[in-house]
């Protein structure tokens, strides 16, 4: 009989403790992020699609058009072109197209680059219904960043 009342008291007490916990949570600030309206900065080691790194002073791409990234790419999604210009040492990059639809984000291109001209971007919000939106012109992107 005493067990009956003990269980009753303990049970009722624990129910009120439970209510206390949820009441505390009710007045605490929310922890969810309202995603489409706000989002957090991506972590530094996030591997998004690649992008060109510009020279700190001129803003021009550091790429010397050696083509190592293109050669190392297992899916062949990088195509680039360059030309010789008067008064400039080496080649100048004129076109750098990344076909992101076939890219597997393996990072061989960044690994192969001896001149520190490529890095992973931190873009993750890339959804689109159109295939053409995933053919990235990286030179244009670099200019927009500058």
């Amino acid at each position: 009989m005493s067990g009956y009342f003990k269980e009753l008291f303990d049970g009722t007490k624990s129910l009120f403790i439970g209510l206390g916990i949820t009441a505390k949570y009710f007045f605490e600030p929310v922890v969810t992020m309202q995603y489409p309206h706000e989002h957090i900065e991506m972590t530094p080691r996030f591997r998004g699609h690649i992008e060109l790194i510009g020279d700190e002073e001129t803003g021009e791409p550091k790429c010397v058009v050696c083509g190592m990234c293109q050669k190392g790419c297992p899916t062949g999604c990088i195509s680039l072109a360059g030309e010789k210009r008067e008064g400039v040492k080496g080649k100048v990059l004129t076109e750098y197209i990344l076909n992101f639809t076939t890219c597997s984000l393996c990072g061989q291109c960044v690994e192969n680059c001896n001149f520190g001209a490529l890095r992973f971007s931190r873009d993750f919000n890339l959804a689109s219904p159109r295939k053409e939106d995933f053919i990235f012109d990286l030179i244009k992107r670099l200019k927009e960043q500058n």
Binding site: G18, L19, Y25, F26, E28, P29, V31
Partner: protein, 338 residues
């Protein structure tokens, strides 16, 4: 004909009150659930998501009223109404203020309980008519649950009727006039177990309205949607409105029987129109505080198992409410001047 006008105005008030409550309690429920789980809840449709109930209603209304194969068409269509209509009928005797009541009849309490007992019949017919195994399981659970919880609820109600000597809801409230310690909840001189009786009544009203943690009629994680499994669009919507109307009725009864109804906690009487508003203010304040508690309880406790539910009623609530009945009778007999 002012009497006819009064009746028509009250019908409009009661219908809109039930409808608006159903709509905006869903909003409160979702906001409450959100904040208890440290989310925001609805916020996109209108400011603070206030238009969300309208969007939900429009969505439910545009859905096809589809009759699945094998259902009993009459029972299937009548069942939601049998949940909704009695709940609305009960509003007719609820005194929102001393004079703001559609019909002050001397058996108001009995009428509310008579109509409240139709609720479970509606659920049973709906689940039987659905020709769905989950619905039938839910219907069977629902009936045994309601039978079990109606007993302690009615015993507690009998105790309160014994104390006040009337079934007129307004007279029950008048018996609690004065300071807040005249409310039945704090009248330990009538019965030492009065707060326990209040808890029993509140728990039973949760179980009677099939609210969590006693939501055996829906039990979505076990029985799809229980009795509502086969209901499309507004059929489900009407069940839902009935459920919320029943919550309001259950909380209103708790407020009337234990928390002094429209009585203010301090003896302050304005009289006239201001007095009506003053009474309504306190009634709705207590009512919505209790309804918030109902929502709070839903998002705190997990659903009980079915045997636990029946054990609670038969082994705990019924013996204690019976003991309370005897204790109250004794205290009234020994101290008849109270």
């Amino acid at each position: 004909m002012p009497e006819l006008l009064r009746v028509i105005l009250f019908i409009i008030f009661v219908l809109s009150f039930a409808g608006l409550n159903a709509a905006y309690l869903v909003w409160c429920e979702r906001k409450g659930a959100g904040h208890i789980q440290r989310r925001i809840g609805p916020k996109e449709v209108g400011p603070y998501g206030l238009l969300q109930p309208l969007a939900d209603g429009a969505k439910l209304m545009t859905k096809q009223l589809f009759l699945p194969k094998g259902v009993d068409p009459v029972l299937f269509m009548v069942a939601p109404l049998m949940v909704m209509v009695p709940a609305i009928m009960s509003f007719l005797v609820i005194p929102f203020s001393e004079t703001f009541v559609a019909r002050e009849i001397n058996i108001g309490l009995l009428m509310v309980f008579a109509f409240a007992s139709v609720n479970v019949l509606g659920l049973l017919l709906g689940s039987w008519g659905s020709a769905n195994k989950y619905a039938v399981i839910a219907g069977a659970r629902c009936v045994s649950q309601n039978v079990a919880y109606e007993i302690p609820m009615l015993i507690t109600t009998i105790t309160m009727v014994m104390v006040t000597n009337t079934m007129n809801l307004n007279d029950i409230i008048r018996a609690q006039s004065g300071w807040f310690f005249h409310w039945h909840l704090f009248r330990l001189d009538i019965s030492l177990l009065m707060p326990v009786a209040f808890l029993i009544f509140f728990v039973c009203s949760l179980a009677e309205t099939n609210r969590a943690p006693f939501d055996m009629a829906e039990a979505e994680s076990e029985l799809i949607a229980g009795a509502y499994t086969e209901y499309p669009g507004m059929g489900f919507g009407v069940f839902f409105m009935g459920e919320y109307a029943n919550i309001v009725i259950g909380c209103a009864l708790t407020v009337i029987l234990f928390l002094g109804g429209w009585q203010a906690p301090i003896p302050l009487d304005f009289g006239g129109f201001l007095g009506v508003l003053w009474g309504m203010f306190w009634f709705f304040l207590k009512l919505y505080a209790l309804i918030f508690t109902v929502i709070w309880i839903r998002w705190t406790y997990p659903r009980t198992q079915f045997y636990g539910l029946l054990n609670l009623s038969w082994k705990v609530l019924i013996p204690i409410s019976l003991f309370n009945l005897i204790l109250t009778a004794l205290q009234i007999k020994i101290f008849p001047w109270l």
